[in-house]
């Protein structure tokens, strides 16, 4: 905690090419750049997760045929990267003044081999853990917006983590 940092920049609502525009809502695009190297498949899948979470929250109906771009740059990674990205994108959406239905935050849980649950693990703890679950929780009525799992765990354990 405290060592992972992500820089988020939000641009929009801006003009977009006709091929990319949606007629009834804003088209949200997320770009995740790792600290070193080119973006790979892992970044692409994380971008899609972030995009779907943000689309659920941003009121895109108010800005049809526009594009909103969110660019995330990883500055340092010490564990719990995905929930850090979620928090950074929520702050960027707030700071830019885009209309949102609710706020959201990201939390990571790591399941240790012995069954205990750790919140916001460091990189070392993530490697030792049996499974890592990340949740995005909305501020209104505490509903779960998005969840992703790496590793194997039982349904009981998922419920406990929540």
């Amino acid at each position: 905690p405290g060592d992972t940092s992500v820089l988020a920049g939000l641009y929009g609502p801006a003009e977009t090419k006709v091929s990319k525009e949606l007629p009834d809502r804003a088209a949200l695009e997320v770009l995740l750049r790792p600290k070193v190297g080119l973006p790979g498949v892992l970044e692409r899948s994380r971008e899609q997760l972030l995009r779907q979470t943000c689309e659920a929250v941003v009121l895109g109906m108010l800005h049809p045929r526009t594009a909103i771009s969110l660019v995330l740059q990883v500055l340092s990674d010490a564990g719990s990267l995905l929930s850090c990205c979620l928090n950074a994108s929520c702050m960027a959406l707030l700071d830019a003044g885009l209309p949102l239905a609710s706020l959201f935050c990201g939390v990571t849980c790591a399941l240790q081999p012995d069954g205990t649950i750790l919140l916001d693990p460091t990189a070392r703890q993530e490697q030792e853990a049996r499974a890592i679950l990340t949740f995005a929780i909305a501020s209104s009525e505490r509903k779960v917006l998005m969840s992703t799992t790496k590793g194997s765990c039982s349904v009981e354990e998922v419920r406990n983590s929540l």
Binding site: A14, H63, R65, T66, A96, G97, L100, A101
Partner: protein
């Protein structure tokens, strides 16, 4: 106790079902006049066109009878050549690409391209139209513009005691300044840009230093 009459929902609030949804972060403000109005005072740099707003636009293209203006929103706005005071089909206004124009929105909603005019409802220009050649155009946040547009704004009164200058404020965050010399213009530009983060005390100190110079 709920007030009688119609309650006005301003920017930052939306009706959803039976209740209100807050969509932006900021201070909740209330005006008790009429039936009461609530809105959220939020800080933003990106402009979204709103009908009736006076804005500064830059001409980017001439397409037949219509000029395309960049107003800082998601789409270029259109301005017809007949929308100037005293313009007829024979008497066209002299507008080139790259000119700065001060006008107001007559159509601005999320589904259509915004349209601007440089005359008001009675046909007079009332200060709108092409802005002259010299001067300096720069961008600030929308919150600072709203502060400057408030009646009896202190910043403008203090600056006018420093040098005489011409000022045009656009609701899209753009300000055009012209003073007698280039150096005075640049000084005013720097002070207006810094006003966003300076307290009143720091501003008075900076202005006292400049007028002492």
């Amino acid at each position: 106790a709920a007030p009688q009459g119609r309650l006005l929902c301003g920017p930052g609030l939306r009706r959803s079902g039976a209740g209100l949804l807050v969509t932006k972060c900021g201070l909740l403000r209330h005006r008790p006049g009429g039936g009461g109005a609530y809105w959220v005072d939020s800080q933003q740099k990106r402009y979204v066109p709103v009908k009736g707003d006076h804005v500064i636009g830059i001409v980017t293209a001439k397409a037949g009878d219509v000029f395309r203006l960049d107003v800082g929103g998601s789409e270029p706005a259109s301005l017809s050549y007949l929308a100037f005071e005293g313009a007829t089909k024979r008497n066209r206004p002299n507008v080139q690409v790259g000119d700065i124009i001060y006008g107001q929105f007559v159509v601005a909603n999320k589904d259509m391209e915004p349209e601007m005019v440089c005359i008001d409802s009675s046909g007079k220009s009332s200060g709108m139209g092409i802005i002259g050649q010299d001067g300096f155009l720069f961008k600030v946040s929308l919150g600072l513009i709203r502060k400057l547009l408030a009646p009896n704004c202190e910043i403008i009164q203090e600056l006018s005691q420093l040098y005489p200058f011409e000022l045009v404020l656009g609701m899209n965050g753009r300000i055009w300044v012209k003073a007698k010399t280039v150096q005075q213009t640049l000084i005013i530009v720097n002070i207006l840009e810094a006003c966003e983060y300076m307290t009143a005390q720091q501003r008075k100190q900076a202005l006292a230093k400049l007028s002492g110079n």
